[in-house]
Structures are given as C-alpha cells and as structure tokens.
Amino acid sequence: MNLPALLCLGLVVAYPVGYAGYLSLHQVSLRQLRTGDFPWAGLANFSRLLDDGVFWLSLRHTAVFVMVAVALEVVIGLAIALVIAERRVWIARVTGALILLPWAVPPVVNGLLWSFVFNAQYGYLNRALSALGLIDGSVNWLGTPALAMGAVITAYVWRTTPFNILLYHAALSGMPGEIFEAADVDGASAWQRFWSITLPLLLPVIAVSLVLRTAFAFMVFDEILAITQGGPGNATWVAAWYTYKVSFQPPFDVGLGAASAWALALIVAAASLIYVRALYRQVDL
C-alpha cells in the first residue's frame, strides 16, 4: 500500500535532490541542455557561487526577511489568537470566521494586490495617507530600498500570519479553564496571567510554528516576483529569487543554480536542526 507514495517521493523529491547535487558538479547551461552532454566541472560552480557578490547579498536579504517576517508572524498571530479567545462576545466569532481568508489568497495575487497598494503614482496607500493628511505628494514605496523590503515583508506577513493564528488558537482552545480560574482566585492580573500561564503553555506550539515558518520564509518567491522583481536595483533579491534568476533567465546557468539550490537547502536544514535541538531542550515537543 505504500508503494505509490514511495514511488512518488522517490521520483519527484529524493531523486531530484540527488540530481541537483549531480548538476551542481557539472557544467550545465543552455548549450549543454540542448546537446544533453554535461561536462564535469568539479567544484567550479560552488567557487563561482561563493565569489558572486550578489549571492551573498541575497543571503543577507533573506536573513533580514526571515527574521523580521517570522517575528511579525508570531507576534501578530499571537495577538489575534488572544483577541478571538474571548468567545462570549459575538464579534470574536466573526473574526474567527475570517482568519483563513488571507491564507486562501494565491501568493501571486497577494503580490499583485500589494503592488497596487504600494504603487507610487496610483497606489492606494498614498491615497489613504494623503486623505488622512499624513503625506503631501507621494511616497515612492517600491523605489526606495528599505521601504521596498518593508513592502515585501508586509505582503508576505499578511498572507502567512493566519496559519500561526490558527495554531495558537487551537492550542488556546485546548487549555484547561481551571488554571485560569485558579489564577483569578489568586488575584492575578490579566498581564500576569498571560506571562505566567498562557505564554509558557503556548511555548511548544510557538516552537512548532517557528520551525515551519522559518523554513517557508526562506523560500519566499511569489511576492518578490509580483511586487519588486528583486528591485529597486537588487535591494530585494532573496535566495530563491537568485536561484530562479540564474537558472531560468538568460544565460540559463543551471549548474550555478543547482549549486545555489544546494547551498540554500543546507542552510534551511541547518536552521531547522538548530531550532529543533534548541527547542527540544527547552520544551517537550
């Protein structure tokens, strides 16, 4: 009964990962793809990768992106999960029903919609800000490096936070009410209750969400494509975008792309491993 799954995993996951390793050690670009003959290149692709300033730049951008995005996802997710925990007020049930809406939005649509929001000339954010009298003229959100990164992060966080809200909400609903009643009897304030009871009980779930969200944030692609295409200049080049551009845009340097893909996979694996190690020690996952 497991044969089909093993076959699929082998053909579309395991074999390609190995094959990526093979490609990264050979010279593969448009001409080689045509002839089907990949000459051995040793570690040349990797040394070219490590010499490429843009690769390092995109790694730095990815690090910033991952840290800021994951932190925001956790904090906003936690805040909204706590807000909807008060089920006795009916509006909380409305909020609860809407949580999944951003999750359902296709990432590329998400990118396009935020590109309209952040557009300098006709964008909605500039319209809203000038209607409120906060700005005079227009802010070039996507033309300024730091603001462009902020715009991409905003779009990404909006789409991905719902998943965290969901996990935290599920964990909160499963908590025994007696603990909170006991805390109330002991005269704990809402803040104390959060810090000493809710947060420690949520830690295992937060740990799971950290691992998952970090791994996924490393792969951000759609929003970059739809909002900035890596621009302005290369201010929002991230690792997945770098791999895509070198492999699938002229000059189709698939060998270099495979090397960068492998480097990215190793980084994600290492990050997950460090996370899981550190978290296993802290909490019983």
């Binding site: 593969v28 007020v89 998943f163 969901l166 490393f218 759609d222």
Partner: protein
Amino acid sequence: MTRGRRTLVWILNLLAIAFLVGPLVPVILGSLHSEKSLQQDVRSLLLRPREFTAANFVLILSGGTARGPIFEQVSYLPKSVERFPAAFLNSLVVGLAVTAVTLVVAGLSAYTIARLGLRWTRALLRVSLASRMVPLIVLMVPLYVMFRSYGLLNSLSGVVVAEIGLLLPYAVLILVPYFGSFPSELEDAGRIDGCTRFSAFLHIVVPLTTPGLAACGVILFVLSWNELLIPLIVVSRPEFMTLPVVLAGLVSDYFVFFTLMMAICLLGLAPTAVLVLLLRRYIVSGLVAGAFKG
C-alpha cells in the same frame, strides 16, 4: 464581563478584522473602476459609487472580446486578459487531478503509517516531515532538466506530477493523525469477518473518515490552485499556463492597467476564498493536524 472590558474586546476584534480583510478593500474598489477614473484623481479613495463599472469583469470573463465603451478605444490589452478563461480551466483541471491522485496515494500510506507502527513506516513519516522542509526551488532546478529530457515540459501532466510530489508529504502528515484517532475495533471486526486489510480500509475506514479526507482534499486543492513556481518553470506555452502564471505575466507587461489587474486578482482569489470560507471548519482541523503530529 464589565462594560469596559467588552468595549476593549470589540475594539481589538475590529482591529483584527481590519488586518485580515483590509488589504482586500483596495482590490475590490480598484476592480470596480475604469483606468481613467483611477488616474484622474490620485488622491481619492475610489469610494464614489457613481463611477463604479463592471467593464473590467466583462472584458476578462469574455477573454478580451466584449470590450464595451470603456475598452473600445484601447489599442493595447495585456495578454493575460485573453488568456484568462483557458488558464482558469487549466488551473481547475490541474487542481482536481492533483487533489484526487494525492489523496489516494497519501491515504494509503498514511493508513499504514497510522496502523502498522512498524519501524519503516515510522521512518516514512519522518521522511515526509523532512521532505516538507526541502525548499521547492531546490527541486525545480533538477526537475526542469529531468522534465526536459522526458518531454514533460509544456504539458499539464508535467505540472500535475511535480505538484503531487510537492504536496504528497504534506497530505500524509495531515492524514496520519486522522487515521490514528480512528478506533481500530471496527476494522478488527471486519477482518474477523474475512476482510483483507485493504478491503477493511476501503469499506470501513474510508467511509467513516470522509470528513478528514475532505479536509485534506480541500487544502490540497487550494495549495495546487495557488502554486506559481512549478507551472512557471514547467510551462512556457500559453495554452498550458495555469492561472498564477497568467497573473504573473501581468508583472512584466510594459503597460500596467491597475483596474484590470485588480479585477483579474479578484477573479483569481474568489474560488479559493469561497471554498475556504464555506469549509472553514474542515480546513482548520486539517491544517492543525498537519502541523503537529510530525
């Protein structure tokens, strides 16, 4: 509950709703305008109902043929408009195929993992978990070269195969806890009456775990519908493009119609948004199950 606390809960909830729904407001307003009225006043919030028009939707749904008075004079239209109907259909076909195949394959595996508890089935679970962590772009580089030599580039089947590989591990993770929480006594009774393990699975487990299977199916369909990178790399011919690829084409267009873009976005997100709002309960349980029981 005191009155002050109730007010606070209300305010916080309204803020949360603004966060969740707010970004969709510009999409709706933008899609209802003509490019002319969008550009006329760059400070307005696009809130004047008298300027609303359905022309964008009419144009897109007709694949660029029903131009109407607003688009009559326009000499250039994005190619995405004329490609929309076919791409919508492609996305539907791919989504249904991926969902069906993945559900069957993952269901069989998840069942054995949940029931047998052997060392190698547990290892399979761990492999599924690890596969989920492999960045998709890592798979796409070798898959491109492989598909190129097998002639799977520029075909919907190539897209389907790659998406099954991507989603299968996740489906297994979602389904294992479902089957695990299902009491095994019923199957035991069936097997005493002479069922094989497979027929017990087919005739007893599957009918009784339909909600879990449905949850997993909806999640798979949504993820397949939303997938951009796989079809972007596998497909370059317009007739095989799925909706996200056609939408991504709007980015590189040399002239951007924001109103058309927002209308096309709205049409692209509507199917999954409706599905998710209607089947929320199932999806929530599936997503939570898939995240934890690793």
